[in-house]
Amino acid sequence: MSTENKAMAPPAAAAPDPLEAPFPSRRMMINLGPSHPAMHGTVRSVVELDGETITDLKLDIGFLHRGFEKSCEQVTWTQVFPYTDRLNYVSSVMNNVGFALAVEKLCKIDIPDRAKYLRTITSELHRMCDHLTLVGALGLELGAMTVLIYAMEARDFLWDRLTEICGARLTSNYVRVGGVSRDAPEGWQDKVLATLDRAAELRGEIDKLITRNRIFLDRTRGVAAVPRADAVDLGFTGPCLRASGEPYDVRKAAPYLVYDRVEFDIPVGANGDNFDRYAVRMEELAQSDRIVRQCFEQLPPGDIAIDDVRYVLPPKPEVYGTIEGVMAHFKIIMEGIKVPAGEAYSYTEAANGELGFYLVSDGGGRPYKIGVRAPGWPMTAALGHMVKGALLADLVPTFDTINMIGGEVEQ
């Protein structure tokens, strides 16, 4: 009888479900970092929490500040290249290219076609490395360790190819003012094409693993969304801006090197959330693959640097055999190349967005000022704005999708 009565009674609407009852919560401040296993690099974030929800976040950066600009002001223009490697150390050739183009803009140099193609090829390979790092780390953060392993495999193959042309995996120091430092070795093209095939396979695996994965979608969709107007106002560039729906890409808006001679598409997102930032990167991997293949088809024979001893070291037989060669070599090494006095801002599309160099030259062999507009800067600055209202567990994946690289943001 009594059980019947219970069954007849209205369902739980009257009495709240004890499992859903709100816990009493209070505001709590926690410190993540500067040295925390889940944070990328040494960044301190002071998070204000209400339960698990982030109500405010303040970032404290500078732990990796090495005085990039101050150091560069003390060395010759050529010696700056190794420093630029350390800006975004995952994709160092792109920093080299950005700086070289800025100096060449001041010097009004046009480099040979083969050098342009080699710069484009190495840049795009490094863009793939950068995006693979991000995708792999994002998977790792959301519990998909396998994704990281696949991404690292693809990235290491690409780095091996870059080692063969640059001599180093990370700090490539490949580009010079007026060209590049060395030509592609024998048989390099076939090796790169084989590596691209393997990287495409691995990319396919990653795509199958997480792009339609329920857990991945739930954790990334709608998290840390930035509307288009906000993204522009906050100064976003690169994949993060494109994920918000603004199709701005320096490679299309102001083509440099050979980007106007190859065909590629600019993937654009709609919501600007973590998932879109991931998806844009995945598509850019495929587009970089396309660009590299086209570049190899078009790669012309010829010089890899301009023939002008004011900017480029003379060939070694000349240095050891003639007095003019020795003098040119000595002048460049000891005094540095003479960059005409003036100021210029040059910008390129690096892996995370617009990489700008604002150079001021006083006509001497050393830079007067090198201002670096690091691509990740505005995104890092906006992190507090982005994660407001998100869960604490979403902070680290968001930090990953904006791809803050300490080397460039903290200089």
Binding site: G67, V232, D233, T237, E343, Y345, V360, A381
Partner: protein, 174 residues
């Protein structure tokens, strides 16, 4: 490409936007009087023919020995019209303050903090005027040309650890 943009600005603010010139590589630049920079930027953002909706980079330069000593440089970009200009603002050392443009573009926030940290230029009206890279106890501004390259200001006193390769402790090091 954006000569028209500079002209529009110069016509609208004849007493604030001056000495327009074409820089190396065809960059269009102009000097702006520092008291009016926020106003000029606000107009540049809102005027339909300009629409500079993004400030990709703001930085400063120290021209030591030249009066006025500092310069703050604004790179502006319009995603709508795909054009760029550069505005330069001269800042004297005696009054190293520039009105903030964070109310125009929120993205200028950290760039202005960087200018304060590295060059010691104040931005009255900035919502969060702290240093960006250095710690608050740091004395001086490292990117000023008269700041020594090897100036050391450890937050925690450095210990005198004998170093086999680099000689005696911190006093002789670097």
């Amino acid at each position: 490409m954006s000569k028209a943009a500079i002209q529009t600005l110069a016509q609208r603010f004849p007493d604030a936007v001056q000495d327009a010139y074409e820089g190396v590589g065809g960059d269009d630049c102009a000097f702006v009087r520092k008291e009016r920079i926020a106003e000029v930027c606000r107009f540049a953002k809102e005027e339909p023919s300009l629409l500079f909706d993004m400030a990709p980079y703001v930085t400063a330069v120290d021209y030591l020995g030249v009066e006025p000593r500092f310069e703050v440089v604004y790179q502006l970009y319009s995603t709508r019209h795909n054009h760029r200009i550069r505005l330069r603002v001269k800042v004297p050392e005696a009054d190293a303050t520039v009105p903030t443009v964070t109310s125009v573009w929120r993205g200028a926030d950290w760039f202005e903090r960087y200018c304060w940290d590295m060059y010691g230029i104040r931005f009255p009206g900035h919502p969060d005027p702290r240093r960006l890279y250095m710690y608050e106890e740091f004395v001086g501004h490292p990117l000023r040309k008269d700041y020594p390259l090897r100036g050391r200001q450890p937050l925690v006193a450095e210990r005198d650890v004998p170093d086999l390769y680099r000689g005696p402790g911190p006093s002789g090091r670097d």
